[in-house]
């Protein structure tokens, strides 16, 4: 099987050798503007999330239900996929199945071509980002216009997304103003001459830029947050109204959705419509949620069900819990590593803690970059604590580390440490040698250990270990 494609061919090309998370992160951490932007944004959202989560007395119970509903769905995914297909078809929709990114792109391009259109509008969607749909459509002569504000910033800036929910989180208001002023004219209506960096003015510029596009578009492409097997209903949560524009105005709607987005019953939404907005944007409810079943209000509706590596993850006993993910990005917002490294360092459309497990699970650990992702965490556990479907990200990271190929120097060091720890006598002898050589420990360590002494002093090695003290004094009684 070919490697699963996960977007981002440019910045951190998975095929390009030499890319690693620590290397990418080391460069990012030097970018003080980036760190300032990320720090400000993640701290704002953390506080908002905490306040709306804490006001629900039954958050823990909702979280347990959310986790169980997803596990049950995954366990019976074949049954529910067939049920969904029947319901969507019965409601006048067309269902397509795509085993990988290439097939999904081919299907979508074919559907667009059949309409005779060469332009499409898009609702922000991780699935289409993952399969590189925009690039694939361009090769077929079809231009895809992103309509979510953050996606628009990324597209106009010829940039890459760095966050699941807010792909332009790495940009601040004055950078966004510049991108709009310089590049809007190349894509459509130019930015107003007197554009300021006031967020309201920037939002207004986006409104004006996209207005005519929405009103004229014949074909839209979306993802979905949830699909209901029993009714065939698709659900999209959004804030700006760009989603509603794409979902309702065009004559043809194509939704590309990962197979794990299923929920068995309509009732299950009562759980996820509480978990997702509060975890994601830190709101009691997002401004707009659209739900439609099959061909609605005269629209031609196509659903493309996407595997692209998901069934491989499903077969992974430890890793399959990552398929519970509802892409809320709470784990990114709370992660101290993400806050400092930024999303591009992860070299995947899925950054942050969930990306550190999802990317290697979907794509494998063939490259240095993908092998370094499970180590992009101090295992502090903040991600697990905020995850609304209780994905134990630290445990999956540890599991992936056990499967990764390790450098030989490290293997030798770990084997030596294991040998010492296997017998307490060996440890005691080593401690005594350390105690005798304590004055000879250099201030700067060599090789990979220099990372420590670049910014930190080492503790002084004591003359006597605890166990020698215990033996000498009979546990302090002499």
């Amino acid at each position: 099987m070919s490697r699963t494609f996960l977007g981002m061919p440019g910045i951190a090309s998975p095929g390009k050798s030499g890319q690693t998370f620590p290397g990418n992160a080391a460069r990012a951490v030097q970018n003080s503007q980036l760190r300032f932007n990320l720090r400000k944004a993640t701290r704002t959202i953390r506080a908002r999330r905490a306040s709306v989560v804490n006001e629900l007395p039954d958050w823990a119970e909702l979280r347990q239900a959310g986790k169980a509903i997803k596990d049950h769905t995954l366990r019976n995914l074949d049954t529910y996929l067939i049920q969904l297909e029947e319901a969507v078809t019965k409601a006048g929709g067309h269902v397509h199945w795509a085993a990988d990114a290439d097939e999904a792109n081919r299907i979508v391009a074919g559907l667009v071509k059949a309409t005779g259109e060469t332009e499409v509008v898009k609702v922000k969607s991780m699935a289409t980002q993952e399969i590189g749909l925009n690039e694939a459509l361009l090769e077929e002569g079809i231009t895809a216009y992103e309509t979510d504000l953050a996606e628009l910033i990324v597209q106009l800036g010829d940039d890459w997304p760095s966050h699941i929910l807010v792909p332009a989180i790495h940009r601040n208001r004055s950078e966004i103003r510049e991108i709009f002023a310089d590049n809007m004219s190349g894509w459509g209506r130019p930015a107003p001459d007197d554009l300021t960096d006031d967020p309201a003015a920037l939002a207004e510029a986006a409104r004006l830029h996209l207005r005519e596009r929405f009103l004229a578009s014949k074909v839209a492409i979306s993802g979905a947050n949830f699909m209901i097997a029993e009714t065939g209903t698709l659900v999209v949560l959004e804030s700006e109204g760009n989603g509603r524009m794409c979902l309702t105005l065009p004559e043809t709607l194509i939704s590309v959705v990962g197979i794990e987005k299923l929920l068995p019953t309509w009732r299950d939404l009562e759980v996820f419509l509480q978990l997702l907005p509060r975890s994601s944007t830190g709101e009691r409810m997002n401004p707009y949620t659209s739900m439609w079943t099959g061909a609605t209000e005269g629209q031609d509706f196509h659903l493309v069900l996407l595997d692209n590596g998901r069934t491989g993850v499903l077969a992974d006993e430890v890793g399959r819990q990552a398929l519970r993910c509802i892409r809320c990005s709470a784990c990114l917002n709370v992660c101290p590593v993400y806050e400092r490294a930024g999303g591009h360092a992860y070299g995947s459309v899925y950054p942050g803690p969930i990306g550190a497990i999802l990317t290697p699970l979907l794509r494998g650990m063939e490259t240095e970059l993908d092998r370094s992702l499970p180590y992009a965490s101090s295992l502090c556990g903040a991600c697990y604590e905020v995850c609304p479907v209780a994905i134990d990200i630290p445990s999956v990271l540890v599991e992936l580390r056990a499967r990764a190929r390790h450098p030989w120097t490290e293997r030798a060091g770990m084997a030596a440490a294991g040998w010492v720890f296997n017998r307490s006598g060996r440890l005691a002898r080593l401690q005594r040698i350390g105690g005798q050589m304590r004055t000879m420990v250099p201030k700067r360590l060599p090789g990979p250990l220099s990372g420590w002494t670049d910014t930190r002093d080492l503790p002084r090695v004591p003359k006597e270990s605890f166990r020698d003290w215990w033996n000498r004094t009979d546990g302090g009684s002499r």
Partner: protein, 207 residues
Amino acid sequence: MSSRDLILARVRAAVAGVPDVEVPRAYRGTASAAAGAEGLVELFAERVRDYKAVVHVVAEPEVPALVARSVAERPARRLAVPGGFPASWLEQSEIDQVTDEPRLGAADLDAVDGVLTTCALAIAETGTIVLDAGPGQGRRALTLVPDYHLCLVRADQIVAGVPDAVARLDPVRPLTWISGPSATSDIELNRVEGVHGPRTLEVVIVV
């Protein structure tokens, strides 16, 4: 083998022998409180105001005057009014009513000043109104393209929480859940009201 069969076969192989899971539903389900109870009206009004929407709570006989005042203040002259919207509520308003029959084109929709609707139900805890294209609500684009949306909510349509709403709604109808005016958090994760949807949402709660 078709991709459909391939994916289904992969799924079956992946989950073979994996035990199933019971779903614990110990969270707050449908509330015992009746819809429209007094506390719910207040909570709903407060939560909608949190989204920076304009909220009024009025008695039924005052509705025509309030609607007239609201649209005049905007000012909104040409207003889309979906079929089934109670005509009596518009008695005092000096407006040009635009109907959606036959269907308005996108450009025509963009040319109206606003839209007046009822709703299917409302959720107190989250400050949400839900439209299901029923009488007085119109199709989905009608409440999207115009820049001003005035929505009338009867007190007995306000339910306590999300589970109550899900239990009452018909998933086969096109549904739009609206919680405040159009907004974005895409710039430095700060919420800014007013992007592509109506930038002004006015909610009239009829008690």
